[in-house]
């Protein structure tokens, strides 16, 4: 059991003929993911990855012919917002955007557009989602994740790998691991995913990996306090980050001067979350 993706998930790769898209499609297939189509405008009709995956010019065509419910995006930043909306218009339930560096203005417009559709967006600037043993949609190295009953939600890519690897070494497994991405404007936040984990009977506990900036952790803490029944463990990166590099008054005014790691840890502790000083210590806590 898992959230978001499983063995039945039928995946389309947008940007499948690009360098990253093609390499990671191979990795996803090796991990058992059901890749049913690729999209690259102008390359429709080709078959790629040893003739296993048909390429279409548009997402709509791919949906009609191949039957797709989930899309993953590897196209460059300047075209990624357009790709997200194309997938949403074509009716995909789940859109996972790996691309990093998308302009904030484009993401604001895209998120406004997504509200009119049924699609759920994960990312951008994220490593994707893995339900070990069932499906991988994204770039998480599949070898470091084993099936189990711990859910993971993370704002950081490489820290996610760190935690997956530590869990594996400790003999613990994961139901689903979701990288929600590091951008300011993103499709899903901690709260959105906590809701899904709450309803997933197979997930027994959840690890949150947060970092400085924004209010995601504070909002998660509020939700955990009121509407979440399972144990939650957390690590927040950036306790030692210097306060410099500030973005002017407007950001500070909006967030009431918060956004620092200390405030986040405090909020999580108050909600009953066990917070560790390092990713490795999170794993030790779960074993206790």
């Amino acid at each position: 059991m898992s959230i978001l993706i499983n063995k039945e998930t039928r995946v389309l790769v947008q940007g499948i003929t690009g360098h990253e898209g093609s390499f990671h499609t191979g990795q996803m297939i090796a991990a058992g993911t059901n890749i049913v189509a690729g999209v690259t405008p102008g390359r429709g009709g080709e078959w790629v990855l040893d003739g296993k995956v048909p390429v279409f010019d548009t997402v709509k065509q791919a949906v009609e012919v191949a039957g797709v419910n989930t899309g993953v995006i590897f196209v460059p930043a300047s075209a990624a917002a357009d790709a997200i909306l194309e997938q949403a218009e074509a009716g995909l339930e789940l859109i996972i955007c790996i691309t990093e560096g998308i302009p904030v203005k484009d993401m604001i417009q895209t998120c406004a557009g997504l509200k009119k559709t049924q699609s759920r967006l994960i990312g951008p600037n994220c490593p994707g989602v893995i339900s070990p043993g069932e499906s991988l949609v994204g770039i998480i190295p599949a070898g470091i994740a084993v099936p189990g009953n711990i859910g993971i939600i993370s704002r950081s890519g490489t820290l996610t790998y760190e935690v997956l690897n530590d869990l594996k070494l400790a003999g613990r497994g994961v139901s689903t691991c979701v990288g929600i991405g590091g951008d300011a404007i993103k499709g899903s936040d901690f709260v959105d995913l906590l809701r899904l984990f709450e309803d997933d009977p197979h997930t027994k506990s959840v690890i949150l990996i947060g970092e400085i900036g924004g209010m995601d952790e504070e909002h998660a803490a509020e939700m955990i306090m009121n509407k979440f029944s399972k144990p939650v463990y957390a690590f927040v990166a950036g306790l030692s980050a210097p306060p410099g590099k500030r973005m002017g008054h407007a950001g500070a005014i909006i967030e009431g001067g918060s956004g620092g790691a200390k405030d986040k840890v405090e909020a999580l502790l108050q909600a009953g979350v066990k917070v560790a000083g390092s990713p490795a210590k999170v794993i030790v806590m779960i074993q206790d």
Partner: protein, 380 residues
Amino acid sequence: MRLHEYQSKSIFAQHGIPIPKGRVANSAGEVKQIAEELGGRVVIKAQVLIGGRGKAGGIRLAKSVEEAEEIATQILSMDLKGLPVRRVLVDEIVSFSKEIYLGITNDRTERKPVIIASGAGGIDIEEVARQSPERIIKIYLDAPFGLHDFQTRELAIGIDLQRELWKPFNAIAKGLWKAFKETDAAIAEINPLVVASTGMLIALDGKLVVDDNSLFRHPELVEIRDLDAEEPVEVEARKYGLSYIKLDGNIGCMVNGAGLAMATLDIIKQNGGAPSNFLDIGGGASADKVATALRIICADPQVKVILVNIFGGITRCDEVAKGILAAQKEANKNIPLVVRLAGTNAEKGLKLLSGTNMHTAASMEEAAGKATRIAAGEKK
């Protein structure tokens, strides 16, 4: 990317926002000339890309042309937070009766732009936001529609602006929104916007921070970027797609991914060590990029040991190892390295490094411990 005050105000002026008469100058001689044109009484403002310059002595008033020249000489020889002042803005002095804060930014939670106004503008605006949030008016905007007249009226009423100024305030707020939108800004801010004794609204200060992700479609902004006003090593790092921030310690750090890099700094601190920098080599870094990153770290004379912490996903550990070897070959000083490689091609990478005298570690905790002990002068 942050623009200078004079650049921001000039963009605001192009959108119909009134700004004081004035010009930017590189020398005291130029300042003298501008002060003469403006009648002697001027404000001289250091053009640096950091906050708090007023409190650091970078903004001063002059009552005469001679005094302006004298003050300019002083400010132009100053260092503000380690960065030399190379330019000053010389503006006419505007007397005023009220300071307003007006800013636009993007709200992460609402996923919308938000316009913020306060009748208590000026240098203590953040304190106002903390102490008396009811004095801050916020209105969220729908990106496709932008800012409506009724919304600017709501702001004007919220900050107790007299009725005859509602129209000019509307024009200024709309001008600011246009500037925000057209420059792909992360922040567009006027603080203070003053009610001058002439009865006009004037933007005395201005700040524009542009979203770095959008720079590919703003060659006109990249062109006016003042690289001289930024930390040279950060400029150098950015050229190679590396994100580097200088810190005060002696343990150099090279990590892939911002979250892992921050966690590495945290764990070094927990071990009693002090990192000399934050450096994220990004995803899928080549050997060349790794070598450049190490060169940048080594250029800091404080660095006593370098910790390499890589968890390869897209990044391949053998590429990282090749970069380390290349950098070591050409390095003229022998800084010890503690290397932790995990993930994609980690075995290959470690094998490449096996003949060398580098310290290796299996986990980031172990690596941080080793690096801290070496920095403290212990053998291992």
